[in-house]
């Protein structure tokens, strides 16, 4: 509750900052401060309860998992603002508003980690999405940014329609919006799993797959990630995607887990997972722009995270926490460097290692983590996802497929490393400050820390 309310309020505060404070450089400090406040509030809530005592009529339920996920999201956003805050100022003319929108997105994200009815799911997703449409188009003079925003909006609207359709059908099938409906309490006394409910859940699956950019509903992702200003792509690809996954898992754990005795969802999910892995990884191979490659890689990573939804067990939940952390850390790190690059194609990275060894080294560590090389956080994240699948006992061939595609992914991640270290070139970067480098090193250190001691994160979750 703290996170939802505080982030909404802080969004409004920043909104007024744009009116009251003319110095653009101040906004990011206010945003960072706000994030610290919200983070503190959220951690306080995790252990001692909320500051606000509001009866939500069970429409929101604050579980340990959700609150911990909030912590991860907020910490990632804080890191993001610290690393790339200066670049937000360059994205367009309305700096404070961008931060405002980021806070509103966080508000939506916190709803998504705690919703207990499908209505709150819908509201959360809308609060999450609408600011993103604006952020995507924030570079008003850039046609590609405009195009991306419009595409995102159109397709987002389409998926919202599907989401609503699904919610309506589920309501029709069970007579309740609540996430967990006891079978006995279903309206009309129908104890089985009705056609309406299952169809509704299918629509929900499609809508959520759209939000997490799973194939074949991923089409918006490359265009939008590529067209949006890099600094917002970084935000969308990490925090927003992680929040959407939290919602996806929460929804399916309650609703699909409930029907899984009657209906087998595994085949459908495995088709979606395999096609996501296929399209994400294989298409990334041919890209010439690192930014677009990262867009496809985020699809590929989504394929891995979908394993959590696929297996729906405790290992999967822990795994998703780990994965969200590992993926967000690494992607924020890579994007922070990418934003500083003058040329975002692979050639633009040629010879970065000689020019700026710190940037090259930290980027390398982040890329290794994305590829899932041992001793980085990404390895254990992938490992726990795969072990979650193995724990389900069925569809173990998915593990083989996933590992094969992870091998393919190494190709395009290593291309960047190769460009940085083994190719002659003159990589042009913008000025980077010492603080930026220190932060990058901290990110890399965290990536390695969680790669060596993944328990450090999970222990925190349990205590």
């Amino acid at each position: 509750m703290n996170a939802i309310i505080l982030s909404a309020i802080w969004g409004v505060v920043l909104m007024f900052c744009s009116v009251l404070i003319k110095n653009k450089g101040v906004y990011r400090h206010i945003a960072a401060l706000g994030l610290l406040v919200i983070l503190a509030g959220n951690i306080h809530e995790t252990y001692h309860g909320s500051f606000f005592n509001i009866d939500t009529h069970e429409m929101l339920r604050f579980s340990r998992f959700g609150l911990f996920f909030n912590t991860i999201l907020l910490a990632a956003t804080l890191l993001y603002v610290l690393l790339s805050g200066r670049d937000v100022e360059k994205a367009g003319g309305y700096v404070a508003e961008y931060f405002t929108l980021i806070f509103f997105v966080l508000c939506g994200a916190s709803i998504l980690t705690s919703f207990n009815t499908l209505l709150m799911l819908f509201i959360g997703i809308e609060i999450l999405s609408i600011p993103l449409y604006i952020l995507t188009g924030s570079d008003k003079r850039n046609l590609r940014s405009n195009e991306a925003a419009l595409k995102y909006f159109l397709m987002g609207a389409f998926s919202t329609g599907i989401l609503l359709m699904g919610i309506a059908l589920v309501y029709g099938g069970t007579g309740s919006f609540m996430l967990e409906v006891p079978r006995s309490a279903i309206m009309g006394g129908y104890k089985g799993v009705s056609f309406l409910e299952v169809t509704g859940l299918l629509f929900l699956l499609v809508a959520m797959s759209f939000k997490v950019s799973a194939a074949p509903f991923h089409f918006w992702t490359p265009d939008v990630y590529d067209g949006a200003p890099s600094v917002f792509t970084s935000f969308m690809a990490t925090i927003v995607k992680a929040a959407a996954f939290a919602a996806f898992l929460k929804l399916f754990e309650a609703r699909v887990g409930d029907t899984s005795a009657a209906v087998d969802w595994k085949l459908l999910l495995s088709i979606i997972i395999v096609s996501t892995l296929l399209i994400g990884n294989v298409t990334a191979v041919f890209q010439q722009s690192v930014k677009r490659m990262l867009a496809y890689s985020s699809i590929a990573q989504a394929g891995f995270m979908l394993f959590a939804v696929f297996s729906l067990n405790d290992v999967a939940k822990e795994g998703l926490l780990l994965y969200a952390t590992a993926y967000s850390l690494a992607t924020i790190g890579v994007f922070a460097v990418l934003i500083k690059m003058k040329d975002v194609t692979f050639e633009g990275f040629n010879g970065l290692a000689r020019k700026n060894p710190v940037l090259a080294a930290t980027t390398t560590i982040c890329l290794l983590s994305l590829a899932g090389i041992p001793l980085t956080a990404g390895f254990f994240a992938k490992f726990s996802m795969l072990s979650a699948v193995i724990k389900t006992g069925t569809y173990t061939w998915l593990v083989v497929v996933a590992v094969l595609f992870a091998a393919v992914s190494a190709y395009y991640y290593f291309r960047v490393i190769q460009a940085m270290y083994f190719k002659e070139g003159d990589a042009q970067t913008e000025e980077v400050t010492g603080g930026f480098k220190v932060l990058l090193i901290a990110v890399a250190a965290l990536v390695i820390l969680f790669g060596v001691q993944p328990q450090a994160l999970l222990n925190w979750f349990y205590f």
Binding site: V19, G188, Y190, G192, F195, A262
Partner: protein, 135 residues
């Protein structure tokens, strides 16, 4: 409609089965059918005289000129959308007014908060100059 439930393991119970929707479906069918029949009927039966004057757009007798798709100042849209926004939100006052007594003080504070949000938003758009007509 038991056919659709073939794949589901649990057998449909009579009470909440889709057959309850049968009258609604029937009505829907009837409505669509009626409209369609009428439209097709008038189209087929009515007399047609196609002259140039008849195909002209009717604009209260004023002759139309040019294309409607012309660039227009964004301000119109801005004002229009803001109007819609506030206008729609004001609608909440009607139910509140009706239940004013029943909701008591808690209702009052809630609406005050709602109005407060409103005012904040309004303050913001005024400060931002969204309603300033002249540049």
């Amino acid at each position: 409609m038991p056919l659709l439930n073939v794949l589901l393991t649990a057998a449909p119970a009579a009470a909440s089965s889709a057959s309850n929707y049968f009258p609604i479906g029937l009505q829907l069918l009837f409505a669509i059918g009626f409209v369609a029949t009428m439209m097709v009927g008038t189209h087929l039966l009515g007399p047609k005289r196609r002259t140039g004057d008849k195909l002209e757009n009717f604009a209260s007798g004023i002759e139309s000129h040019g294309d409607a798709r012309q660039p227009m100042a964004i301000k119109y849209f801005l004002v229009a959308i803001l109007f819609v926004l506030f206008d729609v939100e004001v609608i909440f006052f009607y139910p509140y007014a009706v239940n004013f007594r029943g909701l008591g003080w808690s209702g009052f504070w809630s609406v005050l908060m709602f109005v407060g949000f409103f005012a904040v938003g309004f303050f913001y758009i005024i400060k931002k100059g969204a309603l300033q007509w002249e540049d």
